[in-house]
């Protein structure tokens, strides 16, 4: 006598707001969705859009946890919605857009603009000596372990979860955040980038940079790519102090 397990009826509470609509104001709207096997928030939200409210706005691109588009607050915790299985959540699920970033509508945020600003501010690209490179020649060698180490930090998907999980940056929006510090750690490690320690100090040796981090570690705990943010920030802090002392 096999007993059919009745699927749960999920109550999905979405913080909604359309800044383009003068009459709108932030409010919670609740949708009911019947849970299915292996359901992720991506699937659930699309069902809501298809069957309940086609104006509900959210961002998914790869829907595979790779591109970093779908970060949102799931029950208060920043995470990638596309790879969040509903079975790991309670019956009532609250979704809200990540704070700090400009809101486009409902769960959709303009994180791209913010990240571009960060990249420009920290100049997150290889600063090579301005010599003409010849790509017919063998590539420059690199120790295999070092390449792996750089890749390890290169894995950041700019999802902004670490930003949403950092109290410091909420209070002080000029702080670069873990995502920025991680990028600096990545380029500092890279022998192809010819910036010296003083130049890095110029970028992050201040209260908006590494010395602004109060080691709250929300970043480390929410990063969906498990980047070693705590270690790398600590490393940068030591390095920056050394640079200042040496000078």
């Amino acid at each position: 006598m096999s007993e059919e397990i009745k699927p749960r009826i999920l109550k999905i509470n979405v913080l909604r707001f359309d800044p383009n609509d003068k009459n709108d104001f932030p409010h919670i709207e609740t949708f009911e969705v019947e849970e299915a096997d292996g359901m992720t928030l991506y699937i659930a939200l699309n069902e809501i859009r298809e069957h309940n409210d086609n104006s509900l706005m959210f961002d998914f691109v790869c829907r595979a946890g790779i591109c970093g588009s779908c970060s949102m607050l799931v029950d208060g915790r920043p995470t990638l919605a596309c790879r969040t299985l509903t079975s790991k959540l309670g019956e009532s699920i609250t979704l809200a857009p990540l704070p700090l970033f400009k809101l486009i509508k409902d769960l959709s945020i303009y994180s791209g603009e913010w990240m571009r600003g960060l990249n420009e501010r920290l100049e997150t690209w290889i600063h090579d000596k301005e010599e003409e490179l010849n790509f017919d020649k063998l590539e420059e060698r690199m120790e295999p372990e070092l390449a792996d180490e750089i890749y390890e930090l290169d894995r950041c998907v700019e999802c902004g979860c670490c930003v949403a999980g950092c109290g410091t940056i909420q209070m002080k929006p000029d702080f670069v955040g873990a995502v920025g510090l991680n990028k600096i750690a990545r380029y500092h490690l890279d022998p192809r980038d010819k910036r010296d320690d003083e130049e890095y100090y110029e970028l992050i040796g201040n209260e908006d940079g590494v010395f602004g981090c109060m080691t709250l570690l929300g970043c480390e705990d929410v990063c969906p790519k498990d980047l070693p943010l705590q270690s790398k920030i600590a490393y940068l802090r030591r390095m920056m102090i050394k640079t200042a002392l040496k000078n």
């Binding site: 359309d18 383009n20 609509d21 096997d37 292996g38 992720t40 859009r49 298809e50 409210d53 086609n54 104006s55 509900l56 706005m57 961002d59 998914f60 691109v61 790869c62 829907r63 595979a64 946890g65 790779i66 591109c67 970093g68 588009s69 299985l85 486009i104 509508k105 959709s108 303009y110 994180s111 791209g112 603009e113 990240m115 571009r116 990249n119 420009e120 997150t124 690209w125 290889i126 090579d128 490179l133 790509f135 017919d136 020649k137 063998l138 590539e139 420059e140 060698r141 690199m142 120790e143 295999p144 390449a147 792996d148 750089i150 890749y151 290169d154 894995r155 998907v157 700019e158 980038d193």
Partner: protein, 662 residues
């Protein structure tokens, strides 16, 4: 009304688009990139496996060079590719990868000494050369003679795209994100940019440019299950089609990837099999050696996908509520290997399946994966029929993939094509030809047309529901225009798609009426466009009465060179027609370096072209003569099919390799 002028408009911020942008900027032209999402979120970031370039650094790649890469690519394409373009590509791939290395991609490197690898379910020891230590290494990928696929752990596309986007930041390239090109501006047979809709505010903007590049990626999302990102909807191909002038090539050539997880269709990289993973059936039996004793799991993608489908049809699939599937077993690679080299796969298994791939088998089945077809271009990337319109990357049919592309050749194409086409575009912009003669009233008119279309969608009454049409289209494509195709199903598909297309002209956006950020509106106009693209695919497939590469007709199992060694060209000259116009472009055998032959999978069912033996004889004779004269491989190649002249000067240099030209 907002109008933005620039030299080069680039629609698409993936690898291809960004490489074009940096290239033209370097040549001193202004560039604006339009993209639906921040460039770093483009679909290119999902490429895990790697990029092909014949560096020949690792021991298993020894002896590799442009010639081998070329022959793999042409065979892979089932002789559908443009051989000159393929030559240009293989010649520049090593340069492109070295350039990316300089821009910051942390390519995985060769480590000297012994290491163990799994080849053909067997542990083997590979000894890497001392002199290769620290150079870019490569892994095995389907359909290649040598280990040629360079990678960064399991995030190749991600690293490439990040390096590329950062380079674009460095060059201060203007990137306008959340801008969707919804039509191309055409006047007097020339393309002058695009009308774009701001997805945040709904504002329509005209971008007017000397040259316009469509680099919008593939169109996989016309299928209900696809490994593609959900923004790969073929809008770029659609707006080209809607000009009535530009043409699309080989739209029916759709690749299915053997190993996407069930049910969601997320890809597990080919690296799984490249590194030694096996395909098993419901009895845990390894079936691929029965079908392909030679290449086994590492036969070309289309072949493996078909073999899997065949095997499932024999009742050997594992039953599940989402349909039958097979198993991918990577447990034999060991936890350490999986956690280091296949971490993304591990994450996907944990997050989407709740399993641990170091102990559990992964449920997989073939799933739509890549669009070989696209905007048909000349080797310069310019549309064959619409001046000023360029295209590259997955969006284009530049045509180095023919009817099947090799794994790892696609991201490689994006950067190589981007690099070359940027030069051709720059040449065009430098020439007198590029001066603009468009009247501003034309621009305003283009904007007005798009505005009216959107108003109609929002104000229509008693119209069709977008979702109904969209879902049906996806199902039809999946069921009737899938891995195995036949005349009856295809006819039904074309008929029903045409019906859906007609209905789509009467879509009404229900409930959600905002003119600004409005997903329902977006879905509505995209569905109209996607239906056009779907029709080109289904119709092209129906007409092509042969099997070639990924296009596999059960009713025409043989490859028919005599009648079908040609490209399918589709266009939509009249906005009122409900089916695309189809014509064909011959693929001339007379100048082929590698005349049509057998790909080497299954039984040879090829019906050869009458000109093939003649060309083969010519090729053999030239080779024999030159070899006798002691000519080197470059001289022989150039005697068979010269192509260097076509390349921009700065990319003509001979590639260095260990032991060759160093």
């Amino acid at each position: 009304m907002k109008i933005i002028y620039t030299d080069v408009l680039i629609i698409g911020g993936g690898l291809a688009g960004l490489r074009v942008a940096t290239g033209v900027k370097e040549r001193g032209h202004d560039a604006v990139v339009l993209t639906l999402v921040p460039p770093k979120r483009s679909h290119s970031s999902a490429a895990q496996g790697g990029m092909q370039a014949s560096l020949a650094n690792s021991t298993m790649g020894e002896g590799d060079n442009e010639d081998v890469h070329f022959s793999d690519t042409i065979k892979g394409s089932d002789w559908g590719a443009d051989q000159e373009v393929a030559r240009m590509f293989v010649h520049c791939a090593p340069k492109a990868i070295r350039e990316l290395a300089a821009w910051g991609v942390p390519w995985s490197r060769v480590k000297k000494g012994d290491r163990t690898a799994i080849i053909n379910a067997q542990k083997v020891t590979i000894t890497e050369k001392e002199e290769a230590h620290g150079l870019i290494t490569a892994r095995d990928f389907g359909g290649t003679k040598k280990w040629r696929t360079c990678y960064t752990s399991d995030g190749t596309g991600h690293s490439m795209l990040y390096a590329m986007d950062n380079k674009a930041h460095k060059e201060k390239i203007e990137i306008h994100e959340r801008q969707e090109a919804i039509s191309l501006i055409v006047d007097d047979g020339r393309c002058y940019g695009a009308v774009s809709r701001n997805l945040m505010t709904g504002e329509l903007v005209a971008y007017v440019s000397k040259a316009t590049t469509v680099a919008t990626g593939g169109y996989g999302r016309i299928y209900s299950v696809s490994t593609n990102a959900i923004i790969c909807q073929g809008i770029g191909q659609a707006i080209a089609l809607e000009t009535g002038i530009a043409t699309l090539g080989n739209m029916e050539a759709i690749q299915f990837h053997p190993t996407a997880i069930v049910p969601v269709g997320i890809l597990t990289t080919e690296g799984c099999r490249g590194d030694g993973g096996l395909l098993l059936d419901k009895d845990g039996y390894r079936f691929m050696p029965d079908y392909e004793p030679d290449k086994k799991e590492l036969a070309s993608r289309d072949v493996v996908s078909r073999r899997m489908t065949e095997h499932i049809r024999k009742g050997k699939g594992v039953k599940s509520r989402y349909g039958d599937h097979l198993w991918l077993d990577i447990t034999i690679l060991g936890r350490e290997h999986i956690e280091k080299n296949l971490r993304e796969v591990k994450e996907i298994c944990e997050n989407f399946l709740g399993i641990d791939p170091a102990v559990d088998w992964i449920p997989v089945r073939p799933t739509q994966h890549y669009s070989m077809g696209g905007i048909r271009t000349k080797y310069t990337g310019e549309s064959q029929t619409l001046k000023g319109l360029y295209s590259c990357g997955e969006a284009a049919c530049w045509d180095m993939h023919g009817f099947n592309r090799l794994g790892g050749n696609s991201v490689s194409e994006t950067v190589v094509a981007g690099m070359l086409i940027a030069e051709y575009i720059s040449d065009f912009c430098d020439s007198h030809e590029s001066s603009m003669h468009i009247h501003s009233s034309k621009i305003e008119q283009a904007l007005a047309v798009e505005k009216a279309k959107i108003e109609k969608l929002l104000t229509n009454t008693n119209g069709e529901d977008t979702y109904v049409l969209r879902r049906r289209m996806e199902e039809i494509m999946m069921e009737k225009v899938g891995i195995f195709r036949n005349g009856k199903d295809l006819q039904e598909a074309v008929d029903e798609l045409e019906e859906l297309y007609k209905r789509s002209q009467n879509i009404e956006v229900h409930r959600s009426k905002s003119r600004a950020a409005n997903p329902a509106l977006v879905n509505a106009y995209r569905t109209q466009k996607m239906l056009k693209v779907a029709l080109t695919v289904a119709y092209g497939a129906l007409l092509r009465q042969e099997s070639r590469g990924a296009h596999s007709r059960e009713d025409f199992p043989e490859r028919d060179d005599e009648n079908w060694l040609k490209r399918t060209i589709t266009s939509w000259p009249d906005a009122n027609q409900t089916l695309p116009t189809v014509s064909y472009e011959e693929i001339p055998i007379g100048n082929m370096e590698l005349p049509p032959g057998w790909r080497g999978y299954g039984k040879d069912l090829t019906k050869h072209h009458h000109a093939t033996p003649g060309r083969q004889a010519t090729v053999d004779a030239i080779k024999a003569q030159l070899e006798k004269d002691g000519a080197d491989r470059f001289e022989i190649q150039s005697a068979l099919m010269p192509y260097l002249e076509k390349l921009p000067k700065k990319y003509r240099g001979i590639n260095e390799r260990l032991g060759e030209n160093v």
